[in-house]
């Protein structure tokens, strides 16, 4: 099983298209930089973490850069395997179809972890060229934050360890993106059209952008809720709790996994 997960993960992240994480992360950091530079004009003293968390926490960037790119990178993993006959080689070697699907799901989350870890490192390195390093969050991040003007920017508690916060950002984003990527991947088990897998999350994201709300759990603005429902809170939106969010994400993830288990037992590859 471990070997299967290892194979699937390397297959997933070993593709050249993953290089897109570099320009995407820098683009997101650049977009955030313009906002931050406005704040320096207001005499705020900023450090590198303002840039890092401003970028990672900006939901426009999260949705339309990180999330979309991640979907682009992984959504066709089943389709490509079937089309290229790779699934034939791996399925016949795996102990069961159930194990094969489990390895696929696990590899999605590992790929997400690699993706966001790499993204955070790139953003950190890029931010270091613009702002000084500091061991703590700036006063601006912990209390004075007012940038974004409705973009849902977060304020962090005083004394927060920025490294720990960064790890939490990465883990939570990984979990959210992994669950979201499971939607097209699971659908692609049934609908074997190249364009369907990436198209569904794209449409979903744009629709949720138009109809955003934080109040109803059942609404399609899944991503917004996923992201802002962590322990840190948005000043401009009413978050659901971390536990509520994790429960919601876990339910969706487990549901999709079980649907996949059912489908792979009955489908041809």
């Amino acid at each position: 099983m471990i070997g299967m997960c290892w194979t699937e993960t390397l297959k997933l992240i070993g593709r050249r298209r993953w290089l897109a994480i570099f320009p995407a992360s820098i683009l997101a950091a650049l977009l955030n930089l313009s906002t931050l530079h406005c704040q320096t004009e207001h005499q705020f003293v900023l450090n590198v973490w303002d840039s890092v968390f401003g970028t990672l926490g900006d939901w426009i960037s999260f949705r339309f850069i990180f999330m979309l790119l991640f979907i682009f990178l992984v959504a066709d993993c089943v389709l490509e395997d079937v089309a290229s006959n790779w699934a034939w080689l791996t399925l016949s070697r795996s102990p069961s179809r159930h194990a094969w699907w489990t390895a696929k799901v696990v590899s999605l989350f590992i790929a997400g972890l690699v993706y966001f870890s790499l993204g955070a490192i790139i953003i950190l390195l890029f931010s270091l060229t613009q702002f000084p390093y500091a061991a703590d969050l700036s006063p601006y991040a912990t209390g004075l934050s007012n940038y974004g003007q409705g973009l849902g920017t977060m304020a962090f508690p005083n004394g927060t360890n920025p490294w720990l916060l960064c790890v939490q950002f990465v883990l939570y984003s990984t979990f959210a993106c992994g669950v979201f990527a499971l939607i097209p991947v699971t659908i692609s088990l049934v609908i074997r059209k190249d364009y369907v897998a990436p198209l569904i999350p794209f449409v979903w994201l744009f629709l949720s952008h138009l109809g955003q709300t934080n109040r109803l759990l059942a609404r399609i603005d899944l991503i917004l809720r996923m992201f802002y429902a962590s322990y840190f809170h948005s000043r401009l939106t009413a978050p659901i709790s971390l536990s509520g969010s994790l429960f919601y994400l876990s339910s969706v993830g487990i549901g999709l996994y079980l649907v996949g288990v059912y489908v792979v037992q009955r489908t041809d590859f």
């Binding site: 070997g3 194979t7 006959n85 080689l89 791996t90 399925l91 041809d268």
Partner: protein, 296 residues
Amino acid sequence: MMSEVLRVTALRKVVGRKTLLNQVDLTVNCGEIVGLIGPNGAGKTTFLKIISGTARATSGTVALAKTGGIGILPESPALISEMNALQNLQLLASIRGKVGQQGIVDALKTVGLDPLNRKAVKYYSLGMKQRLMLAQAIMEQPQLLLLDEPTNGLDPLGIIDLRQLLFKLADQGVGIIIASHLLNEIERMCHRVVIISQGSIFNEIDLRGSTQRQVEISVSSEDDWRCLVDWAESSRVQQLPFQEHPRGLLESQLPMPRLIAELLAAGIAIESIQPVKASLEAAFLQCSRREDGVYR
């Protein structure tokens, strides 16, 4: 009696309203090379996928020998193009964990690839990719090999290498099924050939010098031909297109001198007679449809 590595019984595959495979029975013994031929869409790849467990049968059973696994060579190379040959094999080998580094290196050498070549496989020729795919199929020393169009992209030397390798594997007891369109190669490589058409086994031909022998015979006149048909019973004679003289294929278990003597004794004037191997092409054409002058 040879031990079986595969026994397929009453296999049936239906997708929607279309029957892809219908009541297919097949047995492959240890060390036997079985060719699988048939027109495009006959169900060859589906059959191989069902044997390997990648596709589901609607009904029927597939029984594999308990020891050893299956090695698969798909029609098109399934490789990670950014990785080199060794990395590709290491990745696949890590799933079962049955073969170590040395086994992988040996498999690469067996198919004529350099294990030290660090070039990404996207720079490989089709023939090299096919050799690499063959290496992944044999590296775990399976007891059954399923090869779908194994000669794709191979140059003549590559085909000869492949043939020799398959003979060697068969000598070691590996059962092999080869699906291919190259009838000449199938004839050279296989012990037995199964012709599959429209999802069913149309014909099965033993190529290992069976008791069934075919001769091509040409006789002097139409009267001689009728005489031949009467002598041989019509079911054992197949008329070929008329050339200078009436000619056809005659099936007989008699040794050639005795056959000639008996035909002459029956008053049949023979223009020419020669033994022919079981003609796969002729058998293959029997299961093909001809529409508007084109075989379908």
